[in-house]
């Protein structure tokens, strides 16, 4: 875990994250994000989190982003929107202010770096292995683990309801289609 590898990999992650923000085309943005996620996964590997590394690739790059691409293809949205479209100067201002504040925080963190932990803890051999994660997951964190199943259930039921065609309900809805005119 040296500076060189850290800088290279994190540089890739940041550059591709920038690609997401600045790309004019949503699909290009998604691809940039996939690359950024893969770089972050590599960083996980540097942090001896091999299990999380694989899960990151399988879940984020392999499932979530594919879903995004799928929907983009389904809707076939071509990139008509300009990057950093100047339509909302107020929001741009807020974004810049937020960015400045958070960056300030980051710089401050570095400046105080000596006071935070400067060196990784000595860790046992199996740290971050599936066994280690499993032990932590199914003892101390069993309750949250069970709750995630409820979250997934809610999301599943919700997605099914939303995706169902409106005409399937027993009575056709008589509400005006476009809502109330203003």
């Amino acid at each position: 875990m040296t500076w060189l590898t850290f800088l290279i990999v994190s540089g890739i992650a940041v550059i591709f994250a920038g690609g997401l923000i600045f790309s004019r085309n949503a699909v290009h943005g998604a691809m940039c994000l996939v690359a950024s996620f893969c770089a972050i996964a590599t960083l996980f590997l540097l942090l001896s989190a091999e299990f999380i590394f694989v899960v990151q690739i399988a879940v984020y790059a392999g499932a979530i982003m594919v879903l995004f691409l799928f929907v983009m293809m389904l809707l076939n949205v071509q990139g008509q929107e300009g990057a950093l479209a100047g339509r909302a100067p107020g929001q741009l201002l807020v974004a810049l202010a937020l960015g400045a504040a958070l960056l300030g925080q980051a710089v401050w963190l570095v400046a105080r770096g000596g006071e935070i932990i400067s060196r990784p803890a000595r860790i046992p051999a199996g740290f971050g292995s599936p066994e280690d994660i499993g032990t932590a997951l199914f003892t101390r964190n069993l309750l949250p683990f069970e709750i995630t199943s409820l979250v997934l259930l809610a999301a599943m039921a919700g997605a099914v309801v939303l995706a169902r065609k409106a005409g399937l309900s027993p009575k056709p809805n008589g509400a005006p289609a476009g809502g109330k005119p203003e």
Binding site: I116, I117, N141, P144, A157, G158, K180
Partner: protein, 512 residues
């Protein structure tokens, strides 16, 4: 191959029994709605009501056992009071919804199941003493709500509001995650009390990181309870969502957010933290009341009113202590009753398709339907904080707690903004009572509500009155709740949590 040994679960299952009961009944409702659609009309709401009642029983039972903190969840008297508030709110929502769901022709099984799942998330949020658990509770509360907001697929406003709510809610929860990660890296723990205690005793030299993390968590919760400047989504979402969902959102999501805030705020450091809360509270009261004045749509008006009320509630959180938290609990109860009442009236008045939501549409309603007129007047007076209704006593307790805790300036502000609030609440009443009704068109022509809705409306009005007149026994009950919060905080520090492989406090101080 060795057979894996099953480890004994390390906490008492009673701690999570209420949430489990509610989630299980949600699943039963979901399945019943899917497999017996013919009976869904009466079966699913009955199942939902039964499930909520069962959960309430479990909550009371678990509360009587006096369980120690479980490392993730606490079952103290604070949780009991909170859970019961949430369950009462969910119960009323189901009652209020029945009419609406039938009229709008929404899928019943999913509707009630998602509502119950959302309520169980709310209960988790109020009961969790760990940021991770709180995050999961927040998501379990929010994800069904996003769906419910977009539930009337016939109306595009509903879907728009769902998307807005989802995008901003997810944005806020990303703040929560990052804040929790900062707290974790500063203290080595995600337990609210333990992390706060570690910082207080200066076990780690990273208090500012902890404070930044806490501020980000506060941001996320502020989004959920709609504090200014994180309130932008509220009016649009409240207006667009199905009205019964809006009522649920306005009460349960807000209650859950304040339950979480009460636990987090107790762990907050002095100084910058109180300034932050003070500013948020003041801004919320002023802005919410100011914007409410210019609203013509009743749902938007109630949205801004709920923002304003969040400001008052935050004052109680800021005051803290037994009196402050107790006042928050009382006010939440009062707020639930009057807000539900107002929304129930709106549902009855709106007629099919949410056609009538402008306040002007309500002209002369009271002449045609005295029940609606009277109850709406009661709710509006109570929301405005006029005696002898619940809202008045709620504000009284909140203000006195704030004064006692040493925030007289904020209290004066709150009183002034309350006076501002009287204007727009009374306007609704005036329109309903004093103005001439329109001709045969409009909602005034179709105010024939089913019996159940009338009963609920009257019951809520009675509750608002009763909470006002007999406020002291209720206050005693909420007092026990706030006492529980203090006790479990002490217990959590004393409890030996399972030690991680490497004690964080020992090595995070500096380089080795």
């Amino acid at each position: 191959m060795t057979a894996p040994s099953l480890q004994i679960i390390t906490w008492n299952l009673w701690v999570s029994a209420p949430v489990c009961a509610l989630a299980a009944s949600a699943m039963v409702t979901l399945i019943a709605g899917a497999f017996w659609p013919a009976f869904a009309r009466w079966l699913t709401p009955c199942l939902a009501l039964g499930g909520i009642a069962l959960t309430a029983a479990f909550t009371i039972l678990a509360g009587m056992l006096g369980l120690p903190p479980a490392g993730m969840q606490v079952m103290d008297s604070f949780t009991v009071v909170f859970d019961l508030i949430i369950l009462i709110a969910a119960f009323i929502t189901v009652l209020v919804s029945n009419h609406y769901v039938t009229r709008e022709n929404l899928e019943r099984g999913e509707y009630y199941a998602l509502m119950m799942l959302s309520a169980s998330g709310a209960m988790l949020m109020a009961a969790s003493d760990n940021y991770v658990m709180m995050f999961l509770g927040l998501e379990l509360l929010s994800i069904p709500l996003y769906v419910l907001a977009g539930f009337s697929r016939g109306r595009s406003e509903s879907q728009e509001s769902a998307l807005k709510y989802l995008l901003l809610g997810a944005f806020a929860s990303a703040f929560f995650v990052f804040g929790a990660a900062l707290v974790f890296s500063a203290t080595g723990s995600t337990n609210i009390v333990v992390a706060g205690d570690a910082t207080e005793r200066a076990l780690v030299g990273t208090t500012p990181i902890y404070v930044i993390g806490l501020a980000m968590i506060l941001t996320a919760l502020a989004f959920k309870v709609a504090l200014v400047p994180f309130h932008m989504w509220t009016p649009d979402v409240y207006q667009g969502a199905p009205t019964s969902v809006t009522a649920f959102m306005a009460v349960v999501a807000k209650a859950a957010g304040f339950g979480a805030l009460a636990r987090v705020a107790a762990a907050g450091p002095e100084g910058s933290w109180t300034v932050l809360l003070w500013g948020l509270s003041a801004a919320t009261m002023i802005w919410g009341n100011l914007l409410a004045i210019s609203q013509n749509n009743i749902k938007r008006l109630l949205a801004y009113s709920s923002i304003a009320h969040a400001g008052y509630l935050l004052m109680g959180i800021l005051a803290g202590g037994r009196a402050g938290i107790s006042a928050v609990l009382f006010y939440l109860l009062a707020y639930a009753a009057m807000t539900f009442g107002a929304f129930a009236a709106v549902i009855i008045l709106a007629g099919r398709g949410d056609g009538a939501e402008d306040i002007e549409d309500y002209r002369g309603i009271a002449r045609r339907s005295p029940l609606l007129g009277w109850t709406m007047a009661i709710f509006m007076f109570s929301l405005a904080g006029l005696p002898p209704f619940a809202g008045f006593f709620g504000k009284l307790y909140l203000f006195s707690a704030a004064v006692e805790a040493g925030y007289p300036g904020l209290t004066v502000l709150a009183v002034l903004t309350s006076v501002m609030g009287v204007f727009y609440y009374l306007r609704v009443t005036v329109v309903m009572w004093m103005q001439e009704p329109e001709a045969e068109s409009g909602p005034a022509a179709q105010t024939s509500a089913p019996l159940l809705s009338r009963l609920v409306l009257s019951a809520l009005a009675v509750a608002v009155l009763a909470l006002g007149i007999f406020s002291s026994p209720v206050l005693r009950w909420t007092n026990s709740g706030s006492a529980g919060l203090e006790r479990s905080a002490e217990a959590a520090i004393q409890m030996t949590l399972p030690e991680p492989t490497n004690a964080p406090a020992a090595l995070s101080g500096g380089s080795r």
